[in-house]
Amino acid sequence: MIHRSVVAVLASVLAAVPLAAGAAGAHPARTIVQTGDGPPLAAVELWFRAPSVGFGEPLVGIAQLAAESVAASVGHGEPLAALVQDSGGRLQITTFADSVQVTAVVPAASAARIARAALDDYTRPALTQDGYKRARESVAVEAAEAQADPDAQLRFQLFGSLFADGPDRYTALPTVKQLGALPYSEIVAFAKRAFRAENAIAVVTGVSEGAPVLRALGGTGVGEPAEAPAASATSPAPHSVDGDSVAGPAFGLAFAGPPIADQRAATAMDFLADYLLDAKLGTVAAALRGVAPGANVSGQFITLHDPGILLVEVVGDSSSAARETVEQALRSVQQPLDAETFAAARRQYVYHVLHDLQSAQAQADNLGWYAVEGSPSYAPFNGGEQGEYLTLAGSLTPEYVANVARTYLKAAPAIATLTPQPAAQAPKGAAR
């Protein structure tokens, strides 16, 4: 795989950038532009380092509502949401515990124009009441959908148990009551602090030329976002939690893992997650087929600033036999795999990593995530098979992986169980 990173600062070009100057000379703390020769569909992403619950007392959903309010507001012209749609593209806004991601996937010919508009709208937010109202409606629908999704519910319960304090304790989307407690003034204040240019990382992929988007973004940035990474403290003794499910029985486990700074250990956790939790080929899925044929397993290691999180989710069965099967699989990897099994598992894992990096959006997501978490060069898409990430993957040994498993999977995990509600109690109209 060949990547052509566009990192040169084009001084002569910058001199002729009226819009960048119009944006108070501000440009993102970091700009990452990867050119390619695939289909002419570009991903333009802005990442902001900000807690999903705001900078003060936790306000669940404030980041999502603020980000959508900006996209829906007639700030500096046509609302970004409409502009992207009119370009033949799609806009997506996602909030994580410690960051906000705004993604516009558009025909490549529109990438520079959309990058310029997105940066301008977010870093000089001009919110309107209409935009705020539209965003509230949108967030309410998204929250209702999440409440009907057992995966989202499991994650919410697990994170609440695993973390004693900090934004990781909370879901990114609010309940109806929480949404009602997010006043316009708080949204404006959040947007002004979170969506500053110096707190932004801009990522563009899928374009054949980097210079136009770099000009639109006001030049190349190589810095760190202004805000420090949000801290969440893990609970010394995570407790088991039970909840209701509108879908079916489910259970999950969450383990605190290595921080992103411990790259080799984080890579080993990625390998373990793939080996154990791949929905079709993972060892947990294979073992569950014998004891819980209706169960679907999923999971991943979430690479975060500190700590990372290994998430295991089983939907469709929460019997003790299914739990014991999962626990047995987690114990088994604490001993080194035999050389042949390990080699095959690593080939499979490397393929999965590369397979997931095909689309422009997947590539931008990957580069943006690792940058906002503090290790841009460690992103798997950065350099592909020759990059830092896959080089580390190649350096893993059975003994090292088993040692990492013993370090992180022996600790007591957070455990969550969802039990189906009787039909009469199930909320109606949860989804559209």
Partner: protein
């Protein structure tokens, strides 16, 4: 469903890079090979189209094409199933059964592609159609048939396909039915494979990262396809039914009613193809416009309460507009389409409206080409349908050139008659 309803794509600025690097005129007996490579792709892929679609299976063995494909990917290689052997080598294999072909998609880490293709070629050379293998494959296919019957959009689209593809068996359900799958014997599978997994009429599309292993893999797979024509397409004895305001109704275990409107549509390569793509995009936007938020979510086709899809994986092609009763009044979609068409017929779009419609049609097509699997399918499908190896490079400029008069003419020609498929919940469904 996605495979059934795939919409096309490719692009303007990067068209030069997207043009087939090599489109060999296939000598008799050799599958046609097309390559669409990219220096920035993270994986290498290959799509193999064989003329083993639904249209070559007997009606009383509906599901046979899927059973054969499934048995092939389960064939033991080096002591394990082909699927698992390929996964352990650093790749994947999937298949899709369509009306007029079955296609297999191989993908791998670039440095592992040759080995993955070699494993596939070995299974292709010696597939396992023993009683146990066919029984397992049939059980898998029956499960898929059962799942499909609970998806209102799949059922409605299949009902329409059974009408507009009525001339042959191409409109049979992809996964067959429990009754017909139960009739499939190992000899049926072996015969279907021998007759239809052949070189003539097959197409190989290499895509993604260009590595020496890609050509090596293409050669390995091509070499095991025997040099003969496929079996005859099975004629149904029925006439193709043109959309003429027919109404089909069925009951399934679905939570809410679905309405699927089906329209005749031009196939890829037709001069009307680009105008109808723009129209389909306009209609899709119009029926979706009345929706409440969310502002920014990206639901799948089956999750969308209303939408439209261009079915050009077969010739003849079609457009469907669908509405899910769970999302509101499904008849609203019917009325909206009628309004859009009436408006278009009465007066042409303004230049601004036309530009917007073209942008959305262009975007829709590009989204359908986001992955290497999609891109290779698109190229192979156009080639198979006779539109040309380079058709992906010509579609977007054709959209850009669509005129208001062309839209108006296409609206009159294709969107004034339709077939309605209604999928209702069974009585007593919660």
């Amino acid at each position: 469903m996605r495979t059934l309803l795939r919409v096309l794509a490719v692009g303007f600025a990067g068209l030069a890079a997207m043009l087939p690097a090599f489109a060999a005129a296939a000598p008799a007996g050799v599958p046609r090979v097309i390559e669409v490579v990219s220096t920035s792709a993270p994986v290498t892929g290959m799509q193999l189209f064989v003329p083993a679609g639904l249209d070559r299976q007997p009606r009383n063995r509906s599901g046979l094409a899927a059973v054969v494909a499934q048995a092939l990917v389960q064939t033991p290689v080096d002591g394990t199933s082909l699927t698992l052997a390929i996964a352990r080598a650093g790749g994947s294999v999937t298949y899709t059964v369509d009306g007029q072909e079955t296609h297999f998609y191989l993908e791998a880490t670039p440095s592992r592609f040759a080995e993955v293709a070699s494993l596939f070629a070995r299974a292709l050379a010696r597939p396992d159609f023993g009683p146990a293998a066919v029984k397992n494959a049939a059980a898998f296919v029956m499960q898929r048939a059962s799942e499909a019957s609970g998806d209102g959009l799949s059922v409605g689209a299949a009902m329409f396909r059974s009408i507009y593809l009525a001339k042959t068996n191409a409109g049979l359900p992809t996964w067959g039915s429990a009754a017909t799958i139960a009739q499939i014997a190992p000899v049926d599978a072996a015969d279907f494979f021998r007759e239809n997994y052949v070189a003539r009429g097959s197409i190989i599309v290499g895509a993604g990262a260009a590595v020496p292993g890609l050509s090596e893999g293409e050669r390995a797979v091509a070499a095991v396809l025997p040099d003969r024509h496929a079996a005859e397409i099975v004629a149904s004895g029925q006439l193709p039914v043109k959309a003429r305001s027919r109404e089909l109704v069925t009951h399934r275990d679905v939570p809410a009613a679905w309405i699927v409107l089906g329209y005749d549509a031009p196939a890829p390569g037709s001069p009307d193809f680009a105008p109808v793509l723009v129209l389909e995009s306009l209609i899709g936007q119009a029926v979706g416009r009345g929706l409440a938020p969310p502002l920014v979510s990206t639901p799948t086709d089956a999750e969308m309460p209303v939408g439209s899809l261009y079915l050009f994986d077969t010739v003849p092609s079609a457009v469907i507009v669908y509405a899910n009763g769970a999302g509101g009044d499904p008849t609203l979609a019917v009325r909206t389409v009628a309004t859009v068409i009436d408006t278009l017929v009465a007066a042409p779009l303004t230049q601004a409206e036309l530009a917007l419609a073209k942008a959305q049609a262009t975007g829709n097509m590009l989204f359908e080409e986001a992955t290497i699997a999609d891109r290779s399918w698109l190229t192979g499908n156009f080639a198979r349908e006779g539109a040309g190896d380079d058709y992906p490079a010509r579609v977007l400029p054709a959209i850009a050139a669509v005129t208001p008069a062309q839209l108006r003419s296409a609206a009159k020609r294709y969107f004034t008659h339709y077939t309605t498929s209604i999928v209702l919940p069974r009585e007593g469904h919660p």
